[in-house]
């Protein structure tokens, strides 16, 4: 059998290619069954659930405070935001008052965590595309943030820092000054990343115009976060449905123009700048002392009813839906997982693409499998 057909072209046939579940570019245990013909992707089917731990079922047998450590393990790159999303929903249900210092500390650690998470996105995304150096660079800044988190809550990854009604620990002496010093440093480094990556011809050719979709598609598929904003719609819950203290800060919502992979990359960079602005203002406004945990009953019983609230997580709208029957444990707890919903469009984006674009498109969705599988 000849490899060359009548038209002097290489004969190809359809084949199935398994990407993952153990593959560095899937950022976790994610499997993608790709049907390819030559270099062209005909179809792709995501297979998820390898990391399914049944968090929602487990939560039904846990008191509200006991659920907080479980949220750390959802999107483990932005655990502070997960902590907050759960506490916020319960606080809304209870109508709690949060001490001002606690709320400022929350905003500061949440935005720091957003920066750490976005940094890792840029590092791993570039690594996926073959650029090794940014990966090593971003870990230096991320390490500084992680060290500061270690000082404030004693953990580097699974923080379990927030409590219903406030935060567990006040900032240790000198901690806020460290953050204050970190902001200008980070600003400098962001400028460097911008120079290093954004103008790079090879990088641009790999991401510009790739994986494009429009606002309609993104909305129809329930996308949120940067995956939605890259299409040009300024939908950021910190502005659209302000929670915490976000109505006190001056920051803008960067949006993309083309909805392609480049926009998704660049928005991560721009959002870090906005986060720095928020941290700076929060550091100015935070009261010097005061309680960090509000008056909360020892046993938290949420009034019977159902509650939903979402916050702007690092990857999109992170929401908790709680049904309570008045007991100290939720009757039902459902997590609105941004990565899970953002991933849905992937097969559609991959169809007809060149095989080499698979990693570029998958990486730009910015998934964390702990959250996708919950």
């Amino acid at each position: 059998m000849s490899l060359i057909d009548e038209k002097d072209q290489v004969r190809t046939e359809e084949m199935l290619l398994n990407v993952g579940p153990q593959h560095p570019s899937t950022h976790g245990v994610f499997r993608l069954v790709v049907k390819i013909s030559g270099e062209t992707i005909l179809d792709a089917e995501p297979v998820i659930g390898y990391l399914h731990r049944g968090t929602e079922k487990l939560a039904e047998n846990l008191q509200y405070t006991q659920i907080i450590p479980y949220t750390d393990r959802l999107d483990y790159l932005a655990a502070m935001l997960n902590n907050y999303a759960l506490c916020h929903t319960v606080e809304q249900a209870l109508g709690l008052e949060i001490p001002e210092r606690a709320e400022y500390l929350r905003v500061i650690v949440m935005e720091m965590n957003r920066i750490a998470s976005h940094l890792l996105f840029i590092g791993t995304y570039l690594l996926d595309l073959g650029a090794m150096s940014p990966f090593l660079y971003v870990f230096a800044e991320r390490e500084q943030i992680v060290q500061m988190f270690n000082e404030i809550c004693g953990a580097r990854l699974t923080y379990n820092y927030m409590r219903i009604g406030g935060v567990k620990w006040d900032a240790p002496p000198g901690w806020l000054d460290k953050v204050r010093a970190f902001v200008p440093h980070m600003r400098e480094r962001l400028k460097m990343y911008d120079d290093l990556i954004t103008g790079n011809e090879i990088f641009l050719n790999r991401v510009r115009g790739i994986g494009k979709y429009d606002t309609e598609t993104a909305l129809a598929h329930g996308m949120s976060g940067i995956n939605l904003r890259c299409t040009g719609l300024a939908w950021d819950l910190r502005r659209k449905k302000p929670y915490s203290l976000y109505d006190r800060f001056d920051f803008s919502i960067p949006v993309g123009q083309n909805g392609d992979c480049f926009d998704r990359y660049y928005l991560h960079l721009l959002e870090m700048r906005e986060s720095l602005k928020i941290i700076e203002q929060a550091l100015e406004q935070i009261p010097d002392s005061g309680p960090v945990l509000g008056k909360v009953p020892k046993l938290i019983r949420v009034p019977a009813g159902e509650y939903y609230s979402g916050i702007e997580g690092a990857r999109g709208e992170l929401g908790f839906y709680i049904v309570s029957d008045g007991k100290d444990k939720p009757y039902r707890l459902k997590i609105r997982k941004p990565s899970f919903l953002n991933l849905q469009l992937l097969p559609q984006l991959l169809r007809g693409q060149n095989m080499a674009n698979l990693i570029a498109i998958l990486g730009a969705v910015d998934i964390v499998l702990g959250e996708v599988d919950a």
Binding site: Q92, I98, Y243
Partner: protein, 268 residues
């Protein structure tokens, strides 16, 4: 499970104020709570200041009433209805009128408030039609399916599916729900209306066992295909390795494992 965990209106009369709703427009909440203007430095002495989770107005004196042990007094005279809950209920009524105008009487079974969000419960048969109507209705334009969840109400004998719909253009935020029988759970799929419901419905099918008719690809998503049972059902027994994990108490399967661990290889 002896009382029905539902709408946020039947909260205990302890005078607990509820925090600001997620569906409140930004501009209102900022002004009502008397927040300082954005970017204004806070005075350092504001140690006693407290911040609301979101800044909506709260009924007077609720904070102190609780601390002073006035809950007993509050029980005698129930607090006035929360205006935000009342507003949500009124909005739910408007949704009902819009739906009935399009789909006829009887489509809406109940209106109320899910905490501070307007809640409308529609007939199961009209589930997808109601969502589609609200998506294109010029007054509502609920074009963004923000969240979807299913809940098993074992004592009441039904499964409830709830969606939170958002209008990007008009800012409406509505909770729409429907119920289906626990033993024959079937609902029309929302995928033709909101493609984003695809994986959510697969998850609800996987974990709760609701069949969505018209779904293009209804398979398990979190668990493997050979798995039996639906873990988020309240009567699910993880240790029962017979084919029917939802076997009623007193059945042969339940008798074989009285404590639910008897025949599990892990414990042998």
């Amino acid at each position: 499970m002896n009382e029905e965990p539902r709408s946020g209106t039947d909260r205990p009369a302890s005078g607990d104020a509820v925090a600001g709703g997620v569906d409140q427009p930004a501009t209102e909440s900022a002004s009502e709570a008397g927040h300082s203007a954005p970017a204004t430095p806070r005075p350092a002495k504001a140690t006693e200041g407290t911040a609301r989770t979101t800044g909506a107005a709260r009924p007077a004196a609720t904070g102190t009433a609780r601390a002073a042990g006035a809950a007993v007094a509050a029980k005698k005279a129930p607090p006035p209805p929360d205006p935000r809950v009342e507003a949500a209920k009124a909005k739910a009524e408007q949704v009902r009128l819009a739906l009935e105008a399009e789909l006829g009487d009887g489509v809406v079974e109940e209106t109320g408030a899910a905490h501070l969000t307007p809640m409308v419960r529609v007939r199961a048969a009209d589930w997808a039609r109601a969502v589609a109507t609200l998506k294109t209705h010029p007054d509502w334009q609920l074009n963004y399916l923000e969240a979807m969840a299913g809940t098993d109400y074992l004592a009441q004998g039904y499964l409830e599916v709830v969606v939170y719909l958002q209008s990007i253009q008009l800012g409406h935020f509505i909770c729409l729900k429907t119920r289906t029988d626990r033993n024959q759970p079937e609902l029309p799929s929302l995928v033709p209306v909101h493609p984003g419901a695809n994986w959510e419905e697969r998850e609800i099918y996987d974990l709760l066992g609701v069949h969505f008719s018209g779904h293009p690809d209804l398979r398990r998503i979190m668990l493997w295909d050979e798995f039996t049972g639906h873990p988020l059902r309240k009567d699910y027994n993880a240790w029962d390795d017979t084919d029917d994990p939802a076997a009623p108490a007193g059945s042969a399967a339940a008798a074989a494992h009285p404590d639910g661990t008897g025949d599990n290889p892990v414990h042998r």
